[in-house]
Symmetry: D2
Subunit: 388 residues, 4 copies
């Protein structure tokens, strides 16, 4: 097994983008519970995100969601972020909360609605130019609820046309990242339901288009690390949306439902070069906190990714390779599990201390008084939330 010191250079490269919307109120279709101190502006969201980075060193960038995070002056927002110690990252489009999109956006039968949706993405590209963001991430709610409601096949062609128009406007350093999701909010068919569809669509666009893998967006029982390996092999894994789930939900703290799965995913990311210098794989959280506190929920999340990455880095790949070659099933599995079972938390505490970070970021946050402070300060106004 590698020594912990051997793996710190890779740990030093680990960066997990956090989403601005994680700090607003969110919930289920049954109820959104509100919390004192919830941000009311993009700036306040960024301030919260900066706390995560300050205490963990893991979250240097913040993803924005348009139109939720629209501001007049993106350069000023970027400066604000920089002052807080972070930078603006991925721009996420939104074509699911305008009344026009009830039956689709980029795949709608009505050309006018498609136009509106394409234009929204072109606007996102302009914002990216202003913020210097690299990635335009597209998740579509498009689909249908009833058999016969929509022509599945035509919608794939419309999707290609729309994506091609958006893709054509990408800058030389920009990327289009297409997310897939098994179902929801469409309940019969989804226009980008699986990695195969996302892959076929982005492959048809060109070298600057990639797949986004959201860990919560698969059918029950799907082997996600297999998809990671396959997409890395095909050169098309652009980014992760991390979260976890027990059922069909997808907003639990990453690693909370099945830490071993997160370990396996990170092991495959490493195996495929996803943490190498210059890797094209962007790591990001995409999860909202329904009942737990939001800022510490995000801290817990990035720490979970770090812990499982450290365990995966400790995998003794030489010994593993030999056991695999020799067909020794139990030995190979034991070597693999040995890395997972190794408790890296004390080593990571030391690692943090050596970098001027708190050994226990959760405790440090609790002691910081940040939550009562924002609860006192952020009074009045409209709390941000899913959809605002």
């Amino acid at each position: 097994m590698p020594r912990f010191d051997d793996i710190t250079p890779v740990l030093d490269r680990l960066a997990i983008e956090v989403p601005s919307w994680a700090y607003g109120n969110s919930g289920t279709r049954f109820k959104v519970f509100s919390t004192p101190g919830t941000p009311r502006t993009p700036e306040e969201k960024i301030a919260d995100a900066a706390q995560v980075h300050r205490l963990t060193g893991l979250a240097p960038t913040v993803a924005l969601h348009i139109p939720w995070d629209k501001v007049d002056d993106y350069a000023a927002l970027q400066r604000y972020a920089n002052d807080q110690g972070v930078t603006l990252g991925t721009i996420n489009s939104n074509t699911f909360q305008d009344d026009a999109y009830k039956l689709g956006s980029l795949t709608h039968t009505d050309a006018a609605v498609r136009r509106q949706a394409i234009d929204h993405h072109l606007e996102c590209l302009e914002i990216m130019d202003a913020t210097g963001s690299q990635d335009l991430k597209i998740w579509l709610a498009d689909g249908s609820n009833y058999p016969g409601q929509a022509d599945i096949r035509t919608r794939q062609d419309l999707l290609h046309e729309a994506l091609a128009e958006i893709y054509a406007q990408l800058g030389a350093e920009q990327r289009l990242v297409l997310e897939y999701k098994f179902f929801e909010p469409a309940f019969y068919h989804t226009d980008v339901p699986d990695w195969g569809t996302s892959y076929a669509q982005v492959a048809a666009l060109g070298d600057q288009a990639f797949v986004c893998l959201d860990t919560g967006h698969h059918a029950p029982g799907t082997n996600i690390e297999f998809i990671v390996a396959q997409l890395l092999r095909l050169g098309k894994l652009g980014s992760f949306d991390f979260n976890s789930r027990f059922y069909a939900d997808d907003d639990l703290i990453v690693g909370a439902a099945d830490p071993f799965q997160l370990f396996r995913i990170m092991a495959e990311v490493i195996r495929g070069g996803g943490l190498d210098e210059g890797s094209q794989v962007a790591l990001m959280l995409d999860q909202c906190h329904n009942i737990e506190d939001k800022v510490p929920g995000q801290i817990r999340s990035v720490l979970n990714v770090q812990e499982m990455t450290a365990r995966a880095l400790l995998l003794d790949r030489e010994a593993l390779g030999k056991a695999q070659e020799s067909g020794d099933v139990l030995a190979a599995n034991a070597i693999y599990m040995d890395a997972f079972y190794t408790d890296v938390r004390p080593m990571l505490a030391g690692y943090r201390a050596a970098r001027g970070l708190p050994e226990d970021p959760m405790a440090a946050f609790a002691e910081s008084g940040y939550l009562p402070k924002i609860a006192a300060e952020r009074v009045g106004g409209q709390q941000a939330g899913w959809g605002a």
Copy 2:
């Protein structure tokens, strides 16, 4: 196979309660789309529900949801309903939209929250006294999102205590019906996740407590008709909440996703006496319309139940029994499928005409001009919706 005339007496008994909340706006956590003409009051919901009954003869009662349908004078509301040709039915409690219930209601660790939730149910019983309703239906959102968050075992005991206090206040003709749901909005554990739990809880209460089976609330692959058969055998199937789903959603039009499953369920209801005179099984819809029009969505739903019931009634049980006895797998299946494949729609059209109903209720509704009429009339005010 029985002749259609043989089955009309049972069809005459078929009654499917419709939920008041089906007529309000509803949607997903991503977006609730609003519709012109959406009711603003309990009376307007009842007026919409009455349309369903007027055109189908299938929906004589309307379920209420408290507090969404709270009024000052329930006797007046009942008279209003009667004037529209329907009556008030099941009272549904709601312990998931008050801030106090963030971490539970009847199972909350805090006795004060449990008190509030119990008192809410006692208030529902008072409303039942005022409306003459028979059933108090309890669906709980209670559960937890993270392992360790809650003590699963203690919560079962607290649940029993709370239900027992509510049960003790039931009138002689009243029933408590406890619904189960596999997951959502709790994502790690749900306090009443399966029929076994609901059965164990209601069996501990007494003869006036029953299980409610919501067709959308099961794990993937669950054989629902088996549960129907089992609960009828145990004497504890109190009611159905009908809807359908492809994935984890549960608000599609009943029968839309898998009409054969609905057929099998109705076949087992009939097999177990659930459509006999004096049956204790109440049939009800529990589905909301996200993208389709609401009133015709409900009409389509009750028609689907009627159509699959008619097919199930046409099952040649004598021939089936013989094939089953003789172990002739293909013959037994063929007899079963023959009933399902029989197109009963022309016969049902005649059946309706003979009872003074439109042969094609969907067409009759479209021609009635009801939707444009309410769109024009119901302007201003707050549209009803999930949660209002």
Copy 3:
């Protein structure tokens, strides 16, 4: 809605290949029950298959499985088949029942095992030359049971290398068809688990390589008709393996578990040109009969495909298109369901009679005395079965 006469030209083209192994004994890992009259030779399997075609006109070809159906003289076997009124079709390879393949075949870490597996496929190509078969169908049991047991990524590369070598030996008129399967017999990872993997692999081979879609090989809740539409759009849907399932099994009579799903699949096949003249889509059964009689089980299966195809052909696509364009969800769904609910059985009985076939092939088979005849004749010898 089209008239039945309009759709008969397409029905006339419908041909469903039947698998030789469907007539042998098969079962579960718990028990294989044997049946009197089970074939003992490839010829007897073909004789059984010919019964299916004789009574239905739907099954003109028989798929072989190598080595189960190895004979010394394939030309003689083809002549035998022709004498029975059928021809030999797809050749299916088998790399899962030799001890060497315990940990993989085309993806095994050991080059000698890969060599053996590749050579087996080259032998299959020689048999195809002898029989005049068009398709080499490859389903791989390759995968692993435990995390760490195998290197997922390397195995994809090995798979590509092996397939490329086999592909290079295809004749000008021959095709390689790669099947995917979600899981089983490997229980942690499968080397070709989903359509995306099969598509990526065959796309890398060339124009003569296609995907085989087995209807029983998907995760719970997967929208299979979406995959049909997508693969037809990408020009890579080579063939179907039909069967049905409720859970994770995949050997029930096609259409038995969810006839509406089979209807939707056939509707999408038709939509994408899969039943057009010269279509590249081959339809085939791949199901074994565990408890029901085998020959009538196959008859029931091809009839189910025919019935659902007829219903799908009756879909009023013009009216559907208009409803879809106008966003009328309920109307579009109603048009779609109208085709599904139409009972085509009487029309198909007439259609058969007009072609000199029995109106009711199941009854005709029962009356034919074929089963008692083979039970009496086929005594002694080794019954064929899964694996022999």
Copy 4:
């Protein structure tokens, strides 16, 4: 968090029964791979099982499967076992491998088949008298593959009748334990598919009847620890069959697929008194090894249960209770995860050494030369396997 020394008294009580059939060849419906050294007799299976106990101290009893383990003299077999350092445990009946049981056993429509199945269980009770076994474990393959094939409701009644007759013959110290399974080998309906059915059936029998929970026998996404808690609460959790699975299979090494789930299950067993002195909960493995070596596979399995039990015992329940009471979701989850993440392997090595056991039982087994020894000795004869 408790100190390790605090938990050793409970660890000392930990005993996991191993199944005799785990040492024979087993596999999937596709292929059973054989292994040199596979036992040929019940005695050789017991000898293998004794190795597991010798090296781990965890597996003092061996479960038998009748008729696979039938012998003429059970007293002699018991003496043989005692000489090896173990004793005979649970007797498992088998009503799925006789031709008569093709369509059912205790639930078959034919009274003669039911008689045969009941008599088989009475014979098992006689064997229990001879071996001194406490538990008769009943798992039924009964069910149907096609809708209509069987009358679901009648079969429940037949099941009750048959179980009642068997139950009536139990000795005063004996128990009947009824296992449930979601599906397989029946693929449409299973007669005991869920805990609710097993509970309803055993509750109707009496105080000596219990539910057996097999960890691999649930629908996707089922919260198994909830069922553990519920059955313990109801006083009806009789035993566990441990194994693990990713999909629908159920024969992987317990804890291999999701160690955190095993932790949660053991935490709930402890919470509910399942490891208390005098607990009625029997722990047992029920898994077969398809590709890995069998004896070390069993050693790995009992060690996994021990490791996760130790972690679960380290849970700081006082702190957890406080966090739960205060509604601190993140804190409660963190306390819970802290126990799971604690690497108990070094402590367990010391614990073993203190008891005269090898610190690393897997390594000790590898060094023991046992596998090459039995491979050399056990030549000729019929290897045992699933079904023999």
